[in-house]
């Protein structure tokens, strides 16, 4: 569990982090998003002591980094793996030696290292490349090696600093599903810093949006994406671009419950049961982890408004009317 209270940090006169409060539970896949310069990488680096902070608290399972000696911080880092945008592998060592390095540094026995390296190579699916040098591998494969290295000391937390930003969309997807597997099968908490919203959509359970060193919004990914706070809009670069009819009444139906989208034929049922006409004028459904979430805007005559909204409320579907 990572608990952050009132964390502040400045580089010279620039306040990079201002009063950050964050709570990351064990087993979360926590996304920290924001534009470049928002302070997200600095925040991540504070979590394993690569960066220091000026005031506030940051506790990892009750352990406050700030109050401890170098040696204790090094021990703590055994429990926190980290992967980077540019993989940070030693080019002169083979894949095998790269994965083995952390264990070597911690004085593990040769047989133990050998067994663990093979096990990890299996998990990240790079068994066939184990004796190659990193530069002969593709970006995705290199990141897999880096993940294996980060997992070698059996950490409880994995920090990902823009880990997929240098990869193409397809490779990104495969790395993300690997991270999710690791989270689910090994029970490792994953903290992801990224500027790609697709990353958050695909695997994060919770998200925090940083804006100029301040937490603008945080919470469950679904809630944030459904309510679309301004900070999210800023990040997505989507100004309110809905084009809606000026006449009649526009009602937004929010599909937050995946069940509704999949099984309940809600649109046709509503039309049949109420015997009213309406048009679908806007809509956006997107994939979040395994579910489909989003909203559909329908346009209808003013007189149908009450009928429809009552139906939606009874059907347990969130809705809102849009003023035009």
């Amino acid at each position: 569990m990572i608990e952050i209270h009132n964390l502040q940090k400045s580089f010279g006169k620039t306040n990079v982090l201002k009063k950050i409060d964050l709570h990351i539970e064990n087993g979360d896949i926590y996304g920290i998003v924001g534009k470049s310069g928002a302070g997200k990488s600095t925040l991540l680096r504070c979590m394993n002591g690569l960066e220091t902070y000026d005031s506030g608290n940051l506790m990892i399972d009750g352990f406050e980094l700030k109050n401890h000696s170098d040696k204790d911080v090094r021990k703590l880092r055994k429990n926190i793996g980290m992967i980077f945008q540019h993989f940070s592998l030693l080019q002169r060592k083979t894949v095998y030696q790269n994965i083995a390095l952390p264990m070597e540094c911690w004085g593990y026995k040769k047989e133990e290292i050998d067994q663990r390296v093979k096990e990890l190579a299996d998990i990240v699916e790079i068994k066939d490349h184990i004796h190659k040098k990193p530069r002969t591998l593709s970006g995705g494969q290199q990141q897999r090696v880096a993940i294996a290295r980060a997992l070698s000391l059996r950490p409880k937390i994995l920090l990902c600093d823009e880990a997929t930003s240098a990869l193409d969309p397809k490779t990104t997807k495969s790395i993300l599903s690997l991270l999710r597997e690791i989270n689910e099968n090994l029970g490792i908490t994953v903290v992801i810093v990224t500027h790609q919203m697709s990353v958050v959509r695909q695997i994060c359970t919770k998200v925090c949006i940083l804006e100029k060193g301040v937490v603008a919004n945080k919470g469950n990914v679904e809630d944030i994406f459904l309510h679309q706070p301004q900070s999210l809009m800023n990040l997505l670069g989507e100004e309110n671009d809905e084009v809606l009819p000026a006449t009649g009444k526009n009602i937004r139906m929010i599909f937050s419950d995946p069940d509704v989208v999949k099984n309940r034929c809600i649109i046709s049922t509503m039309a049949r049961d109420l015997n009213v006409d309406f048009s679908i004028v806007w809509g956006k459904l997107e994939k979040y982890r395994d579910d489909v979430l989003g909203s559909i805007v329908i346009n209808t005559a003013h007189k149908n408004e009450e009928l429809i909204t009552r139906f939606l409320t009874e059907a347990d579907i969130k809705w809102e009317t849009i003023n035009n």
Partner: protein
Amino acid sequence: MSTDIVPLLNTIVLPELLNTFYMVIIATVLSTFFGFVLAITLTVTDKDGLKPNRAIYRLLDFIINIVRSFPFIILIVAILPLTRLVVGTSIGVNAAIVPLVIAASPFLARLIEGSLNEVDKGLIEAAKSFGASDMQIIFKIMIKEAVPSLISVITVAVINILGATAMAGAVGAGGLGAVALAYGYQSFNEVVMYGTVFVLIILVQIIQLSGNYLYKKAR
């Protein structure tokens, strides 16, 4: 005249060639060692190093610049008392090694510092992230990763030291430089002078080619 060459070769050039080897090898080993010590201290105490320390960095930086400002021939003379203190004499090959090491160490320190600074900072961060100690970062990450670059800078330094031994020859160190000067130039024997230069050219070529070969192998 060509009949003079063979005995000259056996009695003078060959032993002095061995003297040159001796000076170059000992001076390279010692100055590489001191160069590493200085370079590691510089890299570690640099402002974005592992243990930034402005005072130590500035002091070392200053001393290195001062020593490097000396023209080598002046340095030899200037440190004669020190040379006498260390090896007990101010002439001969051993006496030449002292100024050679003093001149080459700061030079190597700068070159090695450059090599170490070129190591990807991300690697150092990654090593920190899995809890490597500073010592491990220096020896297992930085030096290990810089090996190819270190090979090429040491090659440069060896050739530099070879050139410097010739200059040391002028002040009684012996070696090929002294041969070219005493038996060639000052004896008006052009065959010996150019012959010696030719031997030096071959030596430099061999050193550079071996350096290139090792560099490619290490990458």
